[in-house]
Amino acid sequence: MRPNLSRRLLLLHTSWLSMATFFSKDVFSQSNVDSYSQKHLKNLNLKSEGITIEIPPLADTGNSIPMSIQIQPTSSAKVQSFEIIAPENPNQMVLRVTLPNPQKKLKMATRIRLALSQDVWVVAKLDDGTSIAQSANCVVTLNACFDAT
């Protein structure tokens, strides 16, 4: 029996289409990095000078952890955008801040959730095209996100 080629072609093309939509994750389209995994962020080997992260080394609950960041590049470049990344969280992108007018120095604070004890990363993009990154470890005794509290 003659195979139905049009049906096969249709299946082939739709499978590629579904794979393409699966891999083109929207979160990375605006991101400074290609992957939010801890290993990938370490392997980027970005300079850490100019970023200060203040986060408690031990937190009682991961539901609300105060965190403050100061970004002041050592070069003459200005801060264009930055991201807070928690690699062990179910949604790793915690906060992405874009500054339409790049600044020489940026100070900000917020409260974050952590699902597990982990290194929290800050990756900043500068207006000369380079990136800098810094991480800080935080141990949580009560995890957020996964429990039913």
Binding site: Q92, V94, R96, V97, M108, R113, D147
Partner: protein, 113 residues
């Protein structure tokens, strides 16, 4: 105390607003920031996701900061940034939008001395 405003917002300016010096602008929004991972009563149903997706802080209609939030921001999100006081001060405004389409805004005058 009960309030008619489902998502109250507080915009405060901390520090002495001297021209050329930095003041802290603190935004606190009353929002549950549900991650979509929590279980409801009895542990059967998941509480649907409902998070603030975007917060824009402006000074004199110029965008200072555009923040995209994920589920990793704690309930009742607090954002605090430090800005330099311009010569004539200005109006600070904050606008937020969540994934259900709800919006809110607040304004406060920054009086330079």
């Amino acid at each position: 105390m009960a309030t008619l405003n489902q998502h109250p917002i507080r915009l405060s300016i901390l520090g002495t607003p001297k021209v050329g010096q930095e003041v802290e602008i603190r935004v606190l929004i009353g929002h549950p920031m549900e991650t979509g991972y929590r279980l409801g009563e009895g542990g059967n149903d998941r509480i649907p996701k409902n998070i603030i997706e975007n917060i824009v802080i402006k000074l004199n209609q110029q965008v200072l900061m555009n923040a995209d939030l994920g589920t990793g921001i704690a309930a009742n999100p607090l954002l605090s940034i430090f800005v330099e006081v311009p010569k004539d001060g200005g109006m600070i405004s904050v606008e937020w939008r969540d994934d259900l389409g709800k919006q809110g805004r607040a304004e406060k005058m920054l009086l330079a001395i």
